[in-house]
Amino acid sequence: MTKTAKTKSGNSAVEKLLPWYATEKLAGSDRSDVESALKRSPQLRKQLDLIREELRETVVANEVMALPNADATRKFMAMIEGETSPRVAAPNRFEEFLGWLGRQLAGPPRWAVATALLAIVVQSALLGALVIERPEGGYHTASGDSGSLPDGTLLLARFADGATLAELGAQLAALDIAIVDGPKGGGLFTLRIGPQGMAASERDGKIAALRAETGLVIFVGPVQ
């Protein structure tokens, strides 16, 4: 930028550069043009004073803005750490369960162990998603923490390996049944049926209806 021609409104190109002169971001011919014009023009010097006021108050207006959270650096570095470090986390409860399961099945031929593992892992994953009721104190999930069992009649059940998440979810919800624990040895799950004061006839009807779903349920029995 070297020209200082006046615009129609009387503003020169130099005027437009004054803010960058004030922030010392001009160099070369732009800078020398502005300095020459400032020497000649008291109006430009007055304008430069106004710009310095604007600059100062803009900085103040920004400095009073909110700051990021005090632990912003820690959070960001955790993101960096998560991206760069291969996860060597301690095995979670589900992985512990798989380890336990592998040990329990350590006798049969390998293909049988693998098949059983696969079936139960798939089932566990499905059923974990079905535990929708998590009051304070916590219900068990298929692989979750233990906690107090809720009110209501408790049942033991084993689901068919081929049962799908959608089918199980729909059927259990229709019967007002929730999974509250499991899987235990033998692929058994603890279920809760209705509230504690449910009439015996209603409870028996729901149990019978669940047993009738032979494509979904292999076994349903009372908790001993």
Binding site: S9, G10, N11, E15, K16, L17, P19, W20, T23, K25, L26, Q43, K46, Q47, L50, I51, E53, E54, L55, R56, E57, T58, V59, V60, A61, N62, M65, A66, L67, P68, N69, A72, T73, K75, F76, M77, M79, I80, E81, E83, T84
Partner: protein, 187 residues
């Protein structure tokens, strides 16, 4: 200049996944980047999330830093594009041309008038009352201290438009102040 040179050295170290370098870069610039984004998105939680995304992008793509702009300019460019995308997603379109041409009131709002007990406070109220596009340029020049070329690179507008937009913003400030009873004698 020294800071810029230091930043370049830090970016070089990022190429080798140097976590200490990215930490230094983050600590040095994240407040300014956060405030720049906050000015655009007007939501602290969103601004913080985008700030992290910006520095993650710097971390991941340090290799692609061309080196012809100052590192902070590059970082602010990423921030501007991230914030703009976020706004588009939320269908807040005050960065588009219609909004850019929007003319604010000639005077600060009643709150600013009441609170403006001195000229400095009044001037800050007027700065806040600029259009978003004008305010963006004012911040980039006065607060972030970017050159004409750097503002042009961050916002993606020609250098001539940068100068014209700031000039218009300054004239608007004088008009608002005049309406509030303060004659600056310019323009």
């Amino acid at each position: 200049m020294i800071e810029s040179a230091d930043d370049r050295a830090l970016l070089d170290r990022l190429v080798n996944q140097d976590q200490a370098a990215v930490r230094l870069l983050f600590e040095r610039h994240h407040v300014k980047v956060f405030r720049f984004i906050l000015r655009l998105v007007r939501n602290e939680a969103v601004a913080e999330e985008i700030t992290n995304e910006v520095f993650m992008e710097v971390w991941r793509h340090a290799k692609s830093y061309a080196g012809n702009a100052a590192p902070l300019t590059w970082i602010l460019s990423i921030a501007y594009h991230r914030a703009s995308s976020s706004l588009r997603r939320r269908r807040e379109e005050w960065l588009d041309d219609d909004r850019a041409n929007e003319t604010p009131d000639d005077s600060p709002g009643p709150e600013e008038s009441l609170l403006a007990t001195d000229k400095s406070a009044l001037l800050r109220g007027c700065i806040e009352a600029l259009t978003m596009d004008q305010r963006l340029i004012v911040d980039l020049v006065y607060y972030q201290e970017l050159s004409v070329a750097e503002v042009s690179a961050v916002v993606g507008i020609p250098e001539g438009t940068v100068k014209t937009r700031l000039f218009a913003a300054r004239k608007r400030l004088s008009q608002m102040l005049l309406a509030a009873g303060v004659d600056r004698g310019w323009p």
